[in-house]
Symmetry: C2
Subunit: 342 residues, 2 copies
């Protein structure tokens, strides 16, 4: 199994995250990706290769051009406006207000944000470009015949919607990869999101389409971020109706209950018979994750990988969340090794 | 002229405001109200009287009951959730997400917020109740025959919508007062909002009604908070169509241009012939206001008051914004004295 990795991820290194009414050191840190990379190398799961550089064309297949231009320029404009801290929105288009991308940088930040915990720093955009390169490189390997590949993306992507960033995400790596596979031979893709948080961005991008089946297991939005997406009644719209499936799960969910939802989702995947399975892989379902509330244990990640490997479908793993730093490497390796063992 | 004032305003005294990516000392401070009170007393504009206590009934005439219950309990729930800082949302219902008041306190904060600069502290709700008491007390005086009264409200109210707080506002004092006047004999009210910022909350509350004419002069939302409300094309809906008028003005606007917009608005007021004029009085149009971009000077405030007094309509002034601490008292007094001189 080959792993695609972009060294540009380190360029995103913000000092602040809004949490509990304070500005704290971000949970989503450069160390995460380095630890995962080291664990893959130590476990000899296969080569970790530098991601190939892609242009914006595959990004613009799933994201709004104005949004991408915003991401490219926001830091310079924020600094030019004389702001002392990292870029965090203060106001957004709330109910019954007009959703317009106004010219003022604070207004644009709020227009393009779906959450405000995530500060933008100087290196955010280059890092996001590197992450999509990793996703596209690993997707390309699948398109060319690999049975399994891993996009070691950082920053993650599944909260990034057509024209929204937040939840540590800027460009939707999994959605960009899925679209790229469709544009290069595949006709049906299933995206299975096993991150603790709902993959609202991926859902948003494919909500009206029947060529991508999106399934997500996650903390019930009544209790968990992103709170306003991931309810069981979200099942797609238009010709996409029935091609989105959400499995919100309560605090304290352990392997048994989680695996039950997984089996439901996998039955949907098998029935859909996708050409490629894209897995949005978060390991923040781990029992010691600092910002989540599931109770998966280390051996459960190996069981997950094994179960996914059993499907026999070409599989692209795309890295999403996971914030228990001490365990992140071995938990990711457990999923991938479990898959490869099948 | 009588002034209604609630000593409870001091209970709102947050330590943090999100501004420029940092947590700074709030611009909207207890000193503001104390300085205005002192200036009124020094200028001998009439008695400053303690606001009478009203129950929630007049509040619930214009605000959602779930929203008010949220304001009442948010601080206790935020603390019970173990948060270390003051209550600031991190996520909100963005485009295409579901706007549901989820049970989790972080989700509820985001659901009920229209901005995140405004931290909620222990005393926010008692202070907001005191401010609405001041507004209702001063409105009552008008209902009973006073020609002019002043509600020295703090926190301000005009950004608070039917079910949204933000922009330093929690309960919409001006809207509560306007509704109270309608419920006690008046049949038509005009609300003229001369604060630097658009009175999005007041507009929202009366947007589909023809018994309240809402007019606002403010910084163009393309450039100024709240960014997503206050465009010239917002003119009301349904039977309220034509009963909202917005005058967005560019950075650097001084008295001449501002007064031109004022005359347009006053012509609308005169034509409407309201029983009472409610003035949402912000003095953040002042040239030295730290967070605004108009260029009104001290003598302009006296001209404004004089022009309003000329209308001869019973007038309730409701205090909104103004953050140039050194000048706030004399600028407010200038408006009121200008009015009384007519």
């Amino acid at each position: 199994m080959r792993t695609a990795f972009s060294p540009h991820h380190v360029e995103r290194n913000p000092k602040t995250e809004l949490s509990g009414g304070q500005l704290v050191t971000p949970f989503e840190s450069p160390r995460r990706a380095e630890l995962i990379k080291a664990a893959i190398e130590t476990a000899r799961l296969g080569p970790v290769l530098k991601a190939q550089a892609f242009d914006l064309e595959p990004v613009l297949r799933v994201h709004d051009a104005g949004f991408v231009a915003f991401l490219e320029t926001v830091w310079q404009r924020w600094q030019a406006a004389g702001m002392a801290g990292e870029a965090i929105p203060t106001v957004f288009p709330a109910r019954r207000m007009q959703a317009r991308p106004v010219r003022n940088i604070e207004g644009q930040l709020g227009y393009y944000a779906m959450a405000v915990e995530t500060a933008i720093d100087a290196g955010t955009y280059p890092a996001a470009l590197g992450a999509k390169d990793a996703a596209l490189t690993a997707a390309q390997w699948i398109a060319l015949g690999d049975r399994c590949s891993f996009a070691l993306c950082r920053p993650p992507g599944h909260h990034a919607a057509f024209d929204l960033y937040g939840g540590y995400c800027f460009l939707n790596n999994a959605a960009i990869a899925a679209q790229h596979l469709l544009d290069h031979g595949a006709s049906r893709i299933a995206v299975l999101d096993v991150d603790f948080h709902h993959g609202n961005g991926t859902q948003d991008i494919f909500y009206r389409r029947d060529d991508v089946l999106f399934l997500s297991l996650h903390g019930d939005p009544q209790d968990a971020f992103p709170h306003f997406s991931g309810f069981a009644d979200e099942t797609g719209e238009g010709k996409g109706l029935g091609f989105t499936a959400n499995y919100p799960l309560p605090p304290g969910t352990g392997w048994e209950r989680w695996a039950e939802a997984l089996e439901h989702a996998l039955a949907r995947v098998v029935h859909y018979a996708p050409d490629v399975l894209v897995v949005s892989l978060g390991v923040d379902t781990f029992e010691r994750d600092p910002i989540s509330f599931f109770r998966l244990r280390h051996p459960d990640f190996r069981r997950l990988g094994g179960r996914l490997g059993e499907l026999g479908t070409p599989t692209l793993y795309v890295m999403e969340g996971g914030y228990a730093i001490d365990d992140i490497g071995q938990n990711v390796v457990a999923v991938l090794a479990g898959h490869l063992d099948r």
